[in-house]
């Protein structure tokens, strides 16, 4: 079952191509920036991405977000970073060429022009059934030879790069959770002091998460900030559409 899933699995480049084709756009930076959100939505909702492939998808998501941020803030991008973007464009274009070629290969296979090489037929003019696999040591095999081959094999296996140190992410608190929490708070209190709110955090990460959550809600126009004068206390206020106009 698992095998089947992986066989059907389409990688991040395949998904990218599909999204761009849906938009009927060429492979350009603009197209990539445009589909960044759709790609993220796919990664978030798709059931088809296994944990192993998730890494490939996340790397691609990061690259796309980067391209999108460039579209928004072009003056912050260096020439070197510019190259990275063209690289993704090129990679995608090349992948597309091979996808198109694979369609032609599929046609060849579909045409069923299989070639047959000489076979010895049995009495019924059928090809003899494949023999059951059995092990026959090749002629001239010696203990030393076996030993050497095995040593070679081990060499190859061990020559693999040393694995990086593993560190797992500590699941502390997510922005989504924080957003829900703030929503609930605002539904009860309508406004709260931003600095007081940040003080409730127990770690640096949590402060950052709090901060991002508030920003996200501001972006989604669920709340507004109020500040009486420069450097004074900032208040986070529930945004009520009836009043705000």
């Amino acid at each position: 079952m698992m095998e089947l899933n992986l066989e059907k699995f389409q990688g991040p480049l395949g998904i990218l191509l599909k999204l761009i084709e849906q938009e009927e756009m060429d492979i350009t930076e603009i197209a990539l920036a445009k589909i960044a959100d759709e790609f993220l939505a796919y990664v978030e909702t798709s059931q088809n991405i296994g944990p192993e492939e998730m890494a490939d998808f996340l790397v691609m998501a990061a690259r796309l977000l980067y391209i999108k941020s460039k579209a928004l803030l072009p003056y912050l991008i260096s020439a070197e970073e510019e190259e990275e973007i063209t690289e993704l464009e090129n990679q995608l274009k090349m992948y597309k060429e091979f996808v198109e070629a694979s369609a032609k290969i599929a046609e060849l296979v579909g045409a069923k022009k299989f070639l047959f090489s000489p076979v010895i037929l049995n009495k019924n003019f059928r090809r003899p059934k494949k023999e059951k696999p059995s092990f026959v040591p090749p002629a001239g095999i010696t203990q030393v030879l076996l030993h050497d081959r095995f040593a070679e094999l081990l060499d190859r296996l061990q020559a693999k790069e040393e694995p990086l140190d593993e560190k797992s992410l500590v699941g502390k608190i997510s922005i989504d959770e924080r957003i829900d929490y703030i929503r609930e708070m605002l539904s009860k209190k309508l406004r709260f002091s931003f600095s007081q709110f940040l003080k409730t955090a127990s770690s640096k990460t949590e402060i950052i998460v709090n901060f991002l959550a508030v920003l996200e809600l501001a972006k989604q126009r669920e709340l507004v900030f109020e500040q009486d004068e420069l450097f004074s206390e900032i208040h986070v206020v529930f945004r009520n559409d009836d009043i705000s106009n």
């Binding site: 066989e7 389409q10 492939e53 090129n90 090349m94 290969i105 070639l115 047959f116 090489s117 059928r126």
Partner: protein
């Protein structure tokens, strides 16, 4: 002695693909001569619309039935080859066919995903073969003669747009750049 007549007899009697090197040793000729003679044979068979063709892959040659007669031969052999390949397998095979011999890393760079499982499946099905380069300590993958037979072409050079895709300009750049990432 007529080299091409000798080659023809060898090809005719062998049910396994023959390597140029192997043939050269047998007939006592230079590999290059043998290769040229084989190419001429392959060309002639095609020109004369014979019932068999000479196919090649990775320096190996074999006589097979002509693609026009597949239906007839399948009927005769009661062959049940279905020719089904999943999209990812097809994609991987396409890249290996056009770009082979290719390393796993290159393949993954082009497809943008891990290809271990797919490669293993293709190896088991005999559509792809692995060669270890001891000096570079790296494995290179290419498609097999069985895959060529499966497609009904006489060599990978006959695939559509082979020249173009075999040497996509940007490819080497992309691979180069990705190493520095």
């Amino acid at each position: 002695m007529n080299l091409s007549s000798q080659l023809e007899s060898l090809l005719f009697i062998s049910s396994k693909p023959l390597a140029v090197k192997e043939i050269a040793e047998l007939v006592g000729a230079k590999a290059k001569e043998v290769e040229e003679a084989l190419e001429t044979l392959a060309h002639d068979y095609k020109e004369q619309n014979r019932g068999f063709i000479l196919i090649k892959n990775n320096g190996q040659y074999q006589l097979t039935t002509a693609p026009e007669n597949t239906e007839l031969i399948s009927k005769f052999l009661k062959d049940e080859t279905s020719g089904e390949l999943s999209q990812p397998s097809l994609e991987a095979l396409t890249i290996i066919a056009y770009r082979g011999p290719i390393t796993k890393l290159e393949l993954e760079r082009i497809r943008g995903v891990n290809c271990s499982l797919i490669l293993r499946n293709l190896l088991i099905r005999g559509l792809v073969e692995e060669k270890v380069d001891k000096q570079k300590n790296e494995s290179f993958y290419s498609v097999t003669l069985d895959f060529i037979k499966f497609l009904g072409v006489s060599s990978i050079e006959d695939l559509p747009d082979y020249e173009k895709l075999h040497r996509v300009e940007s490819l080497d750049e992309v691979l180069e750049e990705s190493v520095n990432l």
